[in-house]
Assembly symmetry: C2
Homo-oligomer: 200 residues x 2
């Protein structure tokens, strides 16, 4: 039995929920609201000194943070991780792309528009986040023009990682109609067995 410490409307936390559901693994969910400082409490920092959700509680009493490390851990030995060495590397390639070139633009733009007041000075960041987010979406569009999924030709944790903040990119002001291959891929992900949506 796993315990997910997470914020329900966080894409990074949703990744873990979607993987657990699709792998049919038992878990309980403990809501931790980072916007109310709950990731900076002493009790939470004892679980993850970096103060971020999601953090996965394991059966041995230890904790595993970092959404994409959690995905990889859960998926090892399953159909959600490619069986060959280069396929696994391709999955990780796209998961590192997600955390470096995609999430810091698209998820942060969503966060500013969703959680901060309309007069927040952080709105000044939006033009740069938009520019870089569209660069990331263009890289995805180019890749998906030639393949149905990100790694190894089949649905994998790389798709889960990238679906999380791509499907809600409109919350960050991104118009996905400009990306037909990305839009078709989003529909393919939604059509996977045991798919569950991001909680509203």
């Amino acid at each position: 039995m796993f315990t997910v410490y997470g914020k329900s409307d966080s894409g990074n936390c949703y990744k873990v929920k979607l993987a657990l559901e699709q792998l049919g693994l038992a878990y309980r969910w403990v809501e931790v609201d980072s916007t109310r400082g709950e990731t900076r409490s002493a009790a939470f920092l004892a679980k993850n000194p970096n103060g971020k959700v999601p953090t996965l509680g394991l059966a041995d009493g230890s904790y595993l943070p970092e959404s994409n490390a959690i995905l990889h851990y859960l998926a090892e030995g399953s159909a959600l991780l490619p069986a060959d060495r280069l396929g696994r590397a391709r999955a990780l390639q796209w998961m590192f792309f997600e955390q470096y070139s995609h999430e810091p633009c698209i998820a942060v733009a969503r966060s500013i528009l969703r959680y901060l007041p309309p007069d927040s000075p952080r709105r000044a960041e939006l033009p740069r986040l938009q520019e870089r987010g569209h660069q990331a979406l263009a890289v995805m569009e180019q890749h998906l023009a030639g393949t149905p999924f990100f790694a190894g030709g089949a649905y994998s944790v790389a798709d889960i990682a990238l679906f999380a903040y791509t499907h809600c990119a409109p919350d960050g002001g991104f118009d996905l109609a400009r990306y037909p291959a990305v839009s078709a891929w989003l529909a393919r992900v939604r059509g996977q067995p045991r798919f569950v949506p991001l909680p509203a």
Copy 2:
């Protein structure tokens, strides 16, 4: 035979060089200077549409970008990747930490101070980068107070990933004397077999 497309004084590219040297793998190095626009050429974008170094050329004619995905690929089956599932997840945990919470602060501060003119408006980013970079170093300090290396108790690709921009953090204005456990770990990394330094 691998081909590394990289910039010699980039920490992300140095990770790949250090792993190849320590694994005793043959490679050739092709210098690509991102500060002169060489990662935006059509020839380079055909190798990595995301326009970043390092990118690894493989024997099958394909290319693998993302420094930490490359590290994981090279290290599979070697002593540089933990042999157990949780150990591998811990290595990835720290590699994702490096790309999300460490590199975007410490490497970017170094880049601003090293490559941009003293009157660059991007110097305004330095206080926030300093604050977040010190948060990352504090997380590392806490972890290393109880273990000699980042994952599984032994030297691994997680150490290579974090060494790359930690050892040159002073270039970004970070005083490492504040972090004795980090400093002792840097010395342990430098003492590993076949260690090679970042080119001056």
